[in-house]
């Protein structure tokens, strides 16, 4: 198992937002992590990433507890987060965005070096000198995904990557995420409001409600069940 959560509990100040969250993910597995607004999905991602300290439970990566490590140490292990709506440095050019992240995350033999992300998203190479914040939403999201995978990512967490994107772009981007995950045995946790698009590429579905997991199964089981009842 790449990532395992055991009875995770976290919140903000005295308010507990998630409790008893447990699941384990295998290499290359894509998890659609669903739920209504405020269900606790982003809080779970933040706890895994180390941005938020859990009040109880364990986070294990490759079988080792990582809940005492800081954010930078978790990123070095291969945990990556594409944050909701702010995954780029808008005031820097595309090339500068990629260069600064590569300088700190890409070492010899890395899974994704600078040429690899340009190969994956050729439009970014064409727009190397463009200020990132002035690009279209789709191009910004391609850049955000590039920044998230630079180096050697083992588990990529995407927080609502489809926000503000046209439906055809969402499908194309999700397909690229699936291709990258499957070709590099990279695990992905996809937090998404666009349930249909997320289910298309997912191997597994977890639905959260009021800070707890209420459904855990594969997409076919989810479709066969009284699916919307869980939201």
């Amino acid at each position: 198992m790449v990532l395992r959560l055991n009875g995770l509990q976290a919140g903000y100040g005295p308010k507990t937002v998630i409790s008893d969250v447990s699941f384990a993910l295998e290499p290359g597995q894509i998890l659609a992590f669903l739920g209504h607004n405020g269900a606790g999905k982003t809080t779970t991602l933040k706890s895994i990433m180390g941005v938020l300290r859990p009040s109880a439970g364990e986070v294990l990566f490759d079988g080792n507890r990582i809940d005492r490590l800081n954010v930078a140490e978790r990123v070095a292990l291969g945990l990556r987060l594409l944050p909701e709506g702010r995954g780029i440095f808008p005031d820097l050019t595309v090339a500068e965005n990629i260069d600064v992240v590569a300088a700190r995350n890409v070492s010899t033999g890395a899974m994704f070096d600078v040429p690899d992300v340009y190969k994956l998203f050729p439009v970014l190479e064409e727009r190397r000198t463009t200020r990132a914040g002035s690009m279209s939403g789709g191009q910004q999201q391609m850049l955000a995904l590039s920044l998230a995978i630079l180096g050697t990512p083992r588990c990529l967490m995407l927080d609502e990557p489809s926000i503000g994107l046209a439906p055809n772009l969402v499908e194309r981007m999700f397909q690229q995420v699936r291709d990258v995950c499957k070709s590099h045995a990279m695990t992905a946790v996809l937090v998404e409001q666009n349930v249909a698009a997320a289910m298309k590429i997912a191997d597994r579905v977890i639905i959260m409600n009021n800070g707890q997991i209420v459904f855990d199964g594969n997409p076919d089981e989810a479709r066969a069940s009284n699916f919307w009842h869980y939201f």
């Binding site: 941005v51 954010v71 990556r80 260069d99 600064v100 700190r104 920044l147």
Partner: protein, 288 residues
């Protein structure tokens, strides 16, 4: 001819002010701290250089030691004060008050060590006068101020856009959360920024008092004017801060042709109000 002399004086003052504005902008755009104690670092640079010269050290050595001392003080303020307050999730107001406190401490230490009276530099070559054009005359110190300030501006532009650390600093300023989760080490970058800005502000901190002398409390007015240049130029824009500092200094100087000198600070705040009303994002603000 008086107008031309005032124009040249404005360029000299503006260049010095421009470096204060750039360095303040560097700190503010990256850390979002309204670093009032920067005025104390500016003042301390001059006193360190004065002490070194009084002990017989050559001017370049005195300057370099002052720069090193200011760099260390800047890094110390960040690690010993601002970083600790950030860890405690202090509000911007608390940090501002802490910065004012640090400024008061620096000023009081300087006043108790050197006295609150004006100290003059004893550098005969500094007041040697050159005729630039016609009857327009500038001292060696003034010429040195322009040359060093332009060199510092060029160095900052190259550093910010041409080096990986400069780009990382701009990245941290642009999106601190992403910087954290991409291992750009924002806290360490903040220390670098504070150290670099403090080294920069030492340049005018040493050169301006060569002409006007030293006083423990004389850093506030340049800092306020530099703040206005930063806002009017567009927060985060190095060129904007530098150009607007020169424009403000020129307007202050040229206004002497029409109104008494005591109104020059009023000119500065008039410019500030105009910008707040008609272009609050500043002249060189990048479109987001």
């Amino acid at each position: 001819m008086l107008a031309l002399q005032l124009l040249c004086n404005g360029i000299v003052t503006g260049c010095a002010l421009g470096i204060v504005a750039i360095s303040f902008s560097f700190v503010y755009s990256t850390t979002k701290i309204f670093h009032v104690a920067h005025a104390g670092v500016y003042t301390m640079g001059g006193y360190i250089a004065w002490s070194m010269l009084e002990h017989g050290f050559p001017a370049p050595v005195a300057f370099l030691v002052a720069v090193a001392a200011c760099t260390a003080l800047g890094a110390l303020i960040q690690t010993g004060l601002y970083a600790r307050l950030e860890q405690r999730r202090a509000t911007h107001l608390v940090v501002l008050i802490a910065s004012l406190g640090a400024l008061a401490v620096i000023q009081n230490i300087l006043a108790s060590v050197y006295s609150a009276n004006i100290l003059q530099f004893n550098l005969p070559w500094g007041s040697k006068v050159f005729t630039v054009v016609g009857d327009v005359r500038l001292t060696v110190t003034q010429l040195l101020t322009v040359v060093c300030s332009l060199a510092a501006y060029g160095a900052v532009m190259w550093f910010s856009h041409g080096t990986i650390l400069g780009k990382q600093i701009r990245a941290v300023a642009s999106n601190p959360f992403l910087a954290e989760i991409t291992r750009l080490r924002p806290r360490r970058v903040h220390v670098y920024v504070m150290a670099i800005a403090s080294a920069l502000v030492c340049v005018p901190g040493v050169l301006v008092p060569l002409d006007f002398g030293l006083q423990p409390y004389n850093g506030i007015t340049p800092l306020l004017t530099a703040t206005i240049a930063m806002i009017a130029g567009g927060v985060g824009s190095i060129t904007g801060a530098f150009v607007l500092a020169i424009v403000i200094a020129e307007l202050q100087n040229m206004s002497l042709l029409f109104i008494p000198g005591e109104w020059s600070i009023g000119i500065t705040f008039f410019i500030f109000v105009i910008f707040m009303l008609f272009r609050p994002t500043g002249l060189f603000a990048a479109a987001r």
